[in-house]
Amino acid sequence: MIKVLFFGPVAERIGHHALQVEHRPGIRLQDVRDELAAQYPQAFEIVCFAAANGEHVRDMSLPLADNSEVAFMAKFSGG
């Protein structure tokens, strides 16, 4: 399983703070994003950043191991 986290405005649009996506060999961050964006287009409109296992990820072709934790995040507004 891949655990997908949402926060703030994205969580509000999705209606959940976390979802699970089935892991399959070769799955990449972009695949997870595409799958969820199709289900939650309104939430993904405001997604700007992705993280895997607590680290910023810029290259969406990153392969994901089983039990990875990923997050799709809106622009930050802390401070």
């Binding site: 993280a51 622009k75 802390g78 401070g79």
Partner: protein
């Protein structure tokens, strides 16, 4: 002694943070700080409180990286960052950053760099609660 980088619900004391910074080195000649507060008015709307959501573990590790980067980049003697989460009322404290260096220029520049970077790097989101309703804040580019 409290940790130099923290995310917490409760308010903080600037005197206490500054004392902790000063205790780290007697060579500190200048300490620059930035305190972000909840305004009771934003973009023409009254704001009664601000509520924060954060990706807690990542936010903390990003803040720790930010502190280390600032110490290295500006040759600081020490730095501290505290960010509140949960609910903060108008006029209350949100974030505190302090940079201590031998000379003032490094302290002032590092403090400014840290608050600018914090806003870019750290996964925290704020929602303004007004008498007319609630809205997540969209940062300006």
């Amino acid at each position: 002694m409290k940790e130099a980088v923290r995310i917490q619900q409760e308010d903080f004391s600037q005197d206490e943070e500054i004392r902790a910074l000063q205790a780290s080195s007697k060579r500190i000649g200048g300490i620059a700080t930035f305190l972000g507060c909840a305004r009771d008015f934003s973009e023409g709307r009254e704001v009664s409180e601000i509520s924060f959501d954060a990706y807690g573990s990542m936010a903390l590790s990003e803040l720790e990286k930010l502190r280390n980067d600032a110490i290295e980049k500006y040759g600081l003697l020490d730095a501290r960052i505290v960010h509140r989460i949960g609910t903060v009322k108008g006029g209350e404290n949100i974030v505190f950053i302090a940079a201590g260096a031998e000379h003032r220029v490094a302290a002032l520049e590092a403090c400014r760099w840290m608050i600018d970077e914090l806003k870019q790097r750290v996964p925290i989101w704020k929602k303004e609660i007004t008498p007319q309703g609630e809205a997540w804040v969209t940062p300006h580019p």
